[in-house]
């Protein structure tokens, strides 16, 4: 079960990636061979990954770090609201209770260690998390 909602803060870089899990081979004439990895029950769907870079004030950084620590890095899933949800105003879908399902994804961190770099006034960090069931 997902625990909590990723705190909402501005990002200096926001990248969304998606990929269909697949097996592939390419032969010497360029002929590809592909096979989607499926459970044979559900339709194949892409796996989303988000990578965010942030430059935060101390209070926001500590909140984010506490969130990361409480989820033991890449262990415990949580909710993330995609600010770029189609059909919605950018950033309007965020719900810190996690009740709203619009733009909500269950994710967990990809990176297994927290890292930050501090400068005068603001600190830099980046997060990467992927969609899970």
């Amino acid at each position: 079960m997902p625990v909590g909602v990723l705190p909402q803060t501005l990002s200096t870089a926001f990248t969304e990636s998606k990929i269909f899990p697949m097996l592939t081979n390419t032969y010497h004439d360029g002929t590809p061979e592909t096979g989607l990895i499926t459970d044979t029950v559900n339709n194949p769907r892409s796996i989303r990954t988000w990578t965010l870079s942030k430059r935060l004030k101390s209070v926001d950084l500590e909140a984010l770090k506490s969130f990361y620590d409480s989820h033991h890095g890449a262990v415990i899933p949580f909710y993330f609201y995609d600010p770029f949800t189609e059909g919605e105003t950018i950033g309007s879908t965020y719900d810190d209770t996690g009740d709203s399902e619009v733009g909500r994804y269950t994710v967990k961190f990809v990176t297994t260690q927290w890292s930050q770099s501090m400068t005068i006034g603001l600190s830099n960090t980046s997060l990467s998390f992927m969609e899970v069931a």
Partner: protein, 272 residues
């Protein structure tokens, strides 16, 4: 007619019937690799080389959009979902240097589609891989077949500085109702026989050993030769083939087609 491995139908890569909906930014780029392996010799002040063409890579088209609207971003994401990433083919109108375009049947490279959000737009870049038309596969004649030592013509041709050798694998199972299987590392027709692309490598990974031999009958392997074939199974066809028949004691023979001399060199035959 569909390709067959034994009695198993090899499905063609599904065609979505769609065309890529966006137009990229300059510069347009196209890459076409011609992979080869060169051996340098001490002869002619070390300028002497023998080069083996190992295949022709697919055309690769780089597509990028430095600024892409949110609407187009959603179009791109929807399109990616429609073709299931790198699974289904679609048509891409590749720009030519004269301003025209040429349509190619392509798939997404099997990498994540990444869209980076900017202040009021996005940017994205990706690579498309051309899917060769099976009808364009080369056809070669066979002038001679040698079983042990190369013929005089082949000996001469082997001295050429440019070489092209195509491995050919023929599998015959004991069940006579199963058609013979002809595989290679590329799609080609040699001596009227179609070989399907299925062979990924012959040697063990990380080694240059094609075949190892033991002549000591006291060994556990009874002095038999050993050769490893790796066949592609991303589409699970080789699994289906294995399940469709008994491969025990099937014969498998490896030939090398020397393109320069149009000669088939029978390398060896073994039992599974």
């Amino acid at each position: 007619m569909s390709d067959m491995i034994g009695t198993v139908t090899v499905p063609a890569i599904p065609n979505s019937g769609l065309a890529f909906p966006l137009i990229g930014d300059y510069p347009y780029s196209e890459v076409r690799p011609y992979p080869s392996v060169s051996h340098r010799f001490g002869d002619k002040a070390t300028l002497s080389q023998q080069t083996f063409l190992t295949g022709i890579g697919p055309r690769q088209f780089q597509f990028k959009k430095s600024v892409i609207s949110y609407t187009d971003t959603n179009t791109l994401k929807d399109f990616f979902e429609s073709v299931q990433g790198g699974y289904q083919t679609f048509t891409y109108a590749a720009p030519n240097s004269d301003g025209t375009t040429t349509s190619y049947n392509v798939i997404f490279e099997n990498k994540p589609l990444s869209v980076q959000a900017l202040v009021n737009a996005c940017q994205a870049g990706m690579t498309f891989l051309e899917v060769p038309d099976p009808l364009d596969a080369p056809e070669y004649d066979v002038n001679a077949t040698v079983t042990r030592f190369p013929s005089a013509d082949m000996e001469t041709a082997l001295l050429s500085t440019v070489q092209q050798i195509i491995p050919l694998v023929h599998i015959r199972v004991r069940d006579t109702t199963i058609p013979d299987v002809y595989l290679s590392d590329q799609r080609c027709t040699i001596g009227g026989q179609l070989y399907l692309p299925r062979l990924l490598s012959i040697n063990e990974k990380g080694t240059g050993v094609v075949m190892s031999q033991s002549i000591q009958w006291m060994n556990d392997d009874q002095g038999s030769d050993s050769v490893n074939f790796t066949f592609g199974n991303a589409d699970r066809i080789m699994t289906k083939f294995m399940n469709s028949t008994d491969l025990s004691w099937a014969s498998i023979d490896l030939c090398l087609y020397h393109v320069n001399s149009s000669t088939v060199y029978s390398y060896g035959k073994a039992s599974l």
